[in-house]
Symmetry: C2
Subunit: 210 residues, 2 copies
């Protein structure tokens, strides 16, 4: 049998609660209660709490990689357009799966060696290598500057997105948008963030130092 109803329900609730309260801050009893299943079902389906976390990671492992590979394969698109679409893809994933990316952020911070953090690091390495290919292509075509610090550039994209995402209520406050519906507000902030990052990346990749 594959993916019972209750099994997927446990997985989704776990993702939500891990994001909200952290791995250590979430008990299997919390998960069981919210998913409306017996506690024993978690061990029954996933083996342990730790393996439940791994299962959450498994679910999200390949999305960005596929996007990047199809970008590289495209030989008609301009380099700068590829970078813009790269930003779009990342932000699409981030805002579409906020709760998961909060878990990633938390796991990233914990430097304990687990199967989940290994998966994460491997994902990061692979994606960074693909981004490198896109940038090098732009440099070969003479559109981008030489000496781009790609890891630092990626840190700005991921870091800015994370920062905005983890302090969304703060941005709502400073922009005086307390009344705006949450969904509309997120759309707005995503739009702002996209433009912001695109203009930064353009500066990093093309503007000569003065």
């Amino acid at each position: 049998m594959e993916s019972t109803d209750k099994k997927t329900q446990i997985l989704e609730v776990a993702q939500k609660l891990f994001a909200k309260n952290g791995f250590d801050g979430t008990s299997v009893r919390d998960i069981a209660k919210e998913a409306d299943v017996n506690i024993a079902m978690i061990s029954y389906y996933f083996g342990s709490k730790e393996k439940l976390l791994e299962a959450v990671f498994e679910k999200h492992s390949n999305y960005i990689r596929l996007q990047l590979e199809s970008l590289i394969a495209d030989d008609k698109m301009e380099p700068m357009q590829k970078v813009y679409q790269l930003i779009d893809s990342y932000l699409q994933k981030y805002f579409g799966q906020m709760s998961f990316h909060k878990i990633v952020l938390r796991e990233q911070m914990a430097n304990k060696l687990s199967c989940a953090t290994d998966m994460l690091l491997e994902m990061k390495r692979r994606n960074q290598e693909l981004v490198k290919q896109i940038i090098k292509e732009g440099q070969k075509k003479g559109v981008f500057k030489k000496n781009i610090d790609i890891p630092m550039m990626m840190a700005t994209m991921l870091g800015t997105a994370n920062q905005v995402m983890t302090t969304l209520p703060f941005y709502k406050e400073v922009n005086n948008l307390a009344d705006m519906p949450e969904e509309e507000f997120q759309k707005l902030i995503k739009k702002k963030l996209t433009l912001h990052l695109k203009s930064i990346f353009k500066a990093i990749l093309t503007y000569e130092e003065q």
Copy 2:
């Protein structure tokens, strides 16, 4: 009596372990063992584990604010130089107190309402207001563009710094610096990050869109 040896020792160990393993991931027994004190001393000096966390926050509450205020007060320095020094101050604080800022990052993610998160939000509001003053001064002098999204710009600085800090081992790996001593490596990455952020801020604040 004020600040016994053991009391400060508990505070420092707590900061270190909270940063490493998170608040929920750190037990008072862990803290007591590493600080080489009896478990009961934690309740004796701080009342509870929660209040111990608050005490850690208390210790760090005012550093950046003072730096910003002295920057605003200076009426000789050029606006761009002020922004550059703002970046220096923030990164100085971040790299000097990494473990504390990891705790901040974790608390920021947890949206539970505690005394500690309140302190954090208040700090953020105040500092953002001060940064706003510095930018507005530059705009009045005609050095900076109009329509600067200050919260977004700050998100880029804080977010990039956080991202680099939480994934330091990754940056060591991708830069092939596995052999470099940790201290030297951190100096290098801090230097890189500083230049990176300054060039981004210059672009944000002065380059006209093309």
